[in-house]
Amino acid sequence: MTAETVATVWRDEWGRLLALLVRQFRRLDLAEDSLAEAFVRASGRWPADGVPSNPPAWLLATARRVALDRIKHEGVVARKLPLLAVDIDVPDTDRSVPEAGESTELDDERLRLLFLCCHPALAPASQAALSLRLVLGIETREIARLFLVPDTTMAARITRAKRKIATSAIPFGLPEATQWPARVEGIVRTVYLAFTAAYTPARGEELLRTELAGETIRLGVVLDAVVPRDPAVISLLALMLLQHSRRDARVAEGRLVELAAQDRSAWHHDEITRALGLLADVPESSGYAEELRLQALIASRHAVATTAAATDWPAIADLYARLERITGSPVVRLNRSVAVAEADGPDAGLALLAGLEDALPTGHRLASVRAELQRRTGNLAAAADSYRTAISRCENAVELEHLTRQLAALPLSPGDRSGRSGHPSVGGPPVGPPTLGSG
């Protein structure tokens, strides 16, 4: 029972307590180690002494004592004490820890930590890893699993990021007000990066890392709590919830299931409802916030369709057109072509793909979308060529299997099946967030 309590407190309180300790001591490693030690002591003491009435306060007081002891031990007291003394806004005499959701001051602490972890001087991959580690307290090996890298690689990445913060004087405070919008946008991009990593198909038992996706959504919820009513944040949350709501329908018999084929009764409709509610309150804006809102609206169009056939493709095509106008992105054009093909027929979709090779010279998605649309027009020889091109460009083992199966399933005559030499390379972008095709 107590072990569960400790685990629950860890999950709910880690980020807030760490943020307070980082604020006080201005040292990430010291704060992390002290807090970890406090949890170890809790695991040892609470079964015997009973769970304290205010567990976070107990942990914070313990962690502070551990940290101060360690500072003394390091022999830098003479140098550091003057710093602690003049830092008058540090609540080092504050012995109470308000309940979650109560104090905006505590929420500010997690925001400082998020701004720290997502500082633009850190590489985006490092920002994402650090945020998950420090703000949510997720184990390094779980983060490694999320990004499909070895444990040691992820540990090194996090260590390097913390060292960069320490040596390059990335500040611990909140950014200047003028920097706020850009910095919040940076955090939003980082959270979405972490989320999409969870849906990058991998090999073996763990095709997708859906429970880790849930953790990144938790990061989005924290962000929404500390930066309330921000259009980009709310749109991001809605988008993630909508994409995540399909998690139980995405995989069947060890394979990815395309959106059109998914069992929609397995979608989490309570989460869809929540996302739609969030989205309804977001005003039209501009820039990245508007990109996210349009992406979320597209996802919502899918989410409200009771069957694949009931999907409002013209509305989706229109949303993609608006998204393309804002971003000028060839990836968006590619996704739009799929929607247009559904709404107006495969020839209309193929027309949009014309000339995209220059913008998308690598990756397999352009070729695979082209192949599918060519198949629908009955141009099977061309479809086979496009599938072969896609296969030659595909770097993901799971999607490679899928493409190979698609090619094999084409009803080709023997002459067509043997194929001509491939077209000049056409390709698609690296695997991005789940879209119409992959679901």
Partner: protein, 120 residues
């Protein structure tokens, strides 16, 4: 803490030789204003120098066996453009970025100077 600010490349800026006299005056003016911007932001300029062009550089390399080789020119192609540096005393990286926005829009490398304690 101290930061080494390297004027590493021209970035979007027109190279010096291609600048009009007026553009060169503007560039000088930004450098002349820089101490004021720093002071207003609590930043001290510890040192700052313009460097002669990359063609005047000499690269010195020492092999594992201890042989010293001198070659004509800068360390790397990319180093051709290094035009100068500042050493700034500033509270944190964000303040350094802020004051450096007042410089001409060079590509800059911002690198902390190692804080070696005085005591033994």
């Amino acid at each position: 803490m101290k930061f080494f600010v390297l004027l590493a490349g021209y970035g979007a800026l027109t190279p010096w030789d291609a600048m009009s006299e007026e553009e060169q005056q503007q560039l000088f003016a930004k450098h002349a204003d820089f101490p004021g911007v720093c002071a207003a932001n609590g930043v001290e300029i510890v040192s700052g120098e313009a460097l002669e062009g990359g063609s005047s550089a000499t690269t010195m390399r020492t092999s594992a066996a201890g042989d010293v080789t001198l070659t004509d020119g800068p360390f790397a192609e990319a180093a051709e453009q290094i035009g100068g540096f500042y050493v700034l005393e500033a509270p944190n990286l964000d303040v350094v970025v802020e004051v450096c926005k007042a410089l001409p829009p060079y590509d800059l490398e911002l690198r902390p100077v190692m804080d070696v304690p005085d005591e033994p």
